[in-house]
């Protein structure tokens, strides 16, 4: 029973997205390019696949201060949130949307887009975030997580490059 409802819901969702896609194609809004050229996700070296450690571990859903491998994570994103709001407890090598859909790390933008919908749309249009490559050809996108560390996504201040030489000092 449950399965049938899920299937129906998914079908409905598919139809809906197809319809929106059609509507979008009508407007000037550029849709997702056929191929998104994104570099691989910026994993901490050696940390992926997550299953190399997590495969045999029990799932602990209690919010707590993380130790060991993840002691660098003090979640400053989404108050009250926890790992499994995004990470798939059943297969740590993937992510999971709120609706249960499984998402690969390479497509993590779909996960971010659950809350940051307008930004996802603008990212796809090329407005949000940085694009490199060809202005009239193959463009390379960056994943959200390339600039925003998902556990503390606020962009960190950086050191500016030197100010210009003053005209009186140009000799």
């Amino acid at each position: 029973m449950k399965k049938t409802i899920m299937t129906l819901l998914m079908l409905f969702g598919l139809l809906l997205s197809a319809a929106t896609a059609a509507v979008r194609a009508d407007t000037h809004e550029p849709d997702v390019p056929k191929k998104l050229f994104v570099p691989p996700p910026p994993f901490t070296p050696g940390i992926y696949p997550c299953s190399q450690c997590h495969a045999g571990m029990p799932v602990d859903r209690n919010p707590r201060k993380l130790q060991g491998m993840h002691d660098n994570i003090a979640l400053k994103h989404m108050p009250g949130g926890w790992c499994f709001d995004c990470h798939n407890p059943n297969n740590r090598d993937t992510l999971r949307l709120a609706n249960g859909k499984i998402v690969r790390f390479e497509e993590s933008y779909n996960l971010c887009g659950q809350c940051h919908g307008t930004i996802l749309r603008e990212w796809k249009a090329g407005l949000h975030g940085k694009r490199t490559g060809m202005w009239n050809g193959e463009k390379q996108y960056l994943l959200c997580v390339h600039c925003h560390w998902p556990h503390d996504p606020k962009f960190k201040p950086i050191q500016p490059l030197p100010p210009p030489v003053r005209p009186s000092d140009i000799k």
Partner: protein
């Protein structure tokens, strides 16, 4: 034609002959010319980095002098109008020296533009036909046309008149009449075009005021004649040329009116700028009061203003105007006053603050000043030489006869 060339050379020989003062004067000027030349060679070699100009203030002392000298050149018209149109005898006799000054000033203008150019050898690019002159779009192209035209008109008039005099004939109005008529609007145009050169730049609110061209003309009609008054006194002291006091006083009177107008226009501009107090008044604020503690021009512009006002009163009252001490003081005041106001006082605030709001105080380098002095010395020498050439013909000391034989009587001064 052959005669003309031969006579030209005979008259030219006068230039080499003179008394001790003359040689000393030429030597004195030569020192400055050579100094200027050596500074210019260095500038050519290293580039304009030898100046204090930078991207924030991309024009400076050279363009300031150029602007001032266009005014001086334009002012020759002040003599031409009464001389030829109203037949005011005393001025008519000396109009030649005004035109020689115009020629000198234009040549100095061209030199100031040349030394300001980053690639002077490419100057031909600006010419019509052989280059790609951007006419009528660029006001600088207009300036090339009007300045060279003015130079040509004055050169033709001067040399025609001199030639006629040299062969003992009266010049024919039918020949130069049209040229003289043409030279009047042309003189107005050289200064108007030069004003428009700055005036047309919407990026520079200090220049982008429609009062600019009238102010240019008014101040030019002060400084040019003031220089001439001093020169006339020198000429009549140093040569047999007779210059009527009436001519001098008349010109002084005209200076008073021009200065009155100049001060009025300045007041009108100051009112508009300071009363409305928009962000576009920052340059004039910088000029008169300083901006963000930068006050390099403030003492200069106030000196200029005080000098101009004082000169106005000196020229306004017949008593001081017709007293040679106060007259000369007035002349010097006007020359310095307008030189500051229409030179650095006009150019520098155009760049302060710059278009991105930066304040770079431009103060010319020694190299720039030496080159500037060199051009002034060259101008002085050119005018001296032109006088040396023209005066004997003018006074009738040098006369040629129309025959082929060289039967002229010359008595060098």
């Amino acid at each position: 034609m052959k005669n003309l060339i031969r006579n030209f050379f005979i008259a030219g020989r006068q230039v080499l002959i003179g008394d001790k003062t003359y040689y000393a004067w030429i030597a004195f000027l030569s020192v400055f010319i050579l100094l200027g030349l050596s500074a210019y060679v260095d500038q050519l070699h290293r580039g304009l980095i030898t100046t204090a100009m930078r991207d924030q203030a991309s024009w400076g002392l050279y363009i300031s002098n150029f602007t001032f000298l266009v005014g001086v050149a334009a002012a020759a018209v002040l003599l031409v109008i009464p001389a030829y149109l109203y037949n005011f005898k005393p001025i008519k006799e000396i109009v030649l020296f005004g035109e020689l000054l115009a020629i000198t000033a234009i040549i100095m203008c061209i030199l100031f533009i040349m030394v300001d150019m980053g690639r002077p050898l490419r100057v031909w690019h600006i010419l019509p036909f052989i280059g790609s002159m951007h006419f009528p779009s660029s006001l600088l192209a207009w300036d090339v046309v009007v300045l060279n035209g003015y130079l040509a008109i004055n050169t033709i008039i001067v040399f025609y008149v001199l030639y006629q005099l040299s062969i003992g004939k009266e010049y024919k109005m039918s020949v130069i009449g049209p040229l003289i008529i043409l030279s009047i609007p042309w003189a107005v145009s050289i200064h108007t075009v030069t004003a428009f050169l700055y005036n047309g730049l919407s990026a520079r609110p200090f220049w982008n005021a429609s009062i600019l061209a009238p102010r240019f003309l008014a101040s030019a009609f002060c400084s040019g004649p003031a220089i001439m008054l001093i020169l006339f006194q020198l000429i009549r002291k140093k040569s047999d040329v007779e210059i009527d006091d009436r001519a001098i006083f008349k010109i002084a009177e005209l200076i008073a009116y021009a200065m009155g107008l100049n001060l009025f226009l300045l007041g009108a501009e100051a009112f508009k700028e300071f009363y409305s107090g928009t962000i576009h008044s920052y340059p004039i604020e910088y000029l008169y009061f300083g901006l963000h503690g930068k006050t390099a021009l403030v003492p200069w512009i106030w000196s200029a203003t005080i000098l101009n006002i004082t000169a106005f009163f000196l020229f306004l009252f017949p008593r001081t105007r017709e007293n040679f001490t106060t007259l000369n003081i007035g002349c010097i005041f006007v020359i310095i006053g307008v030189y500051i106001e229409k030179g650095m006082g006009l150019i520098v605030p155009g760049f302060v603050p710059d278009t991105l709001g930066e304040i770079y105080e431009y103060i010319p380098t020694t190299s720039e000043i030496v080159i500037t002095m060199g051009i002034w010395a060259l101008g002085a020498m050119l005018y001296t030489v032109l006088l040396k050439f023209a005066v004997p013909i003018y006074t009738g000391k040098l006369r040629f006869e129309m025959k082929e034989q060289k039967s002229y009587k010359a008595s060098p001064s």
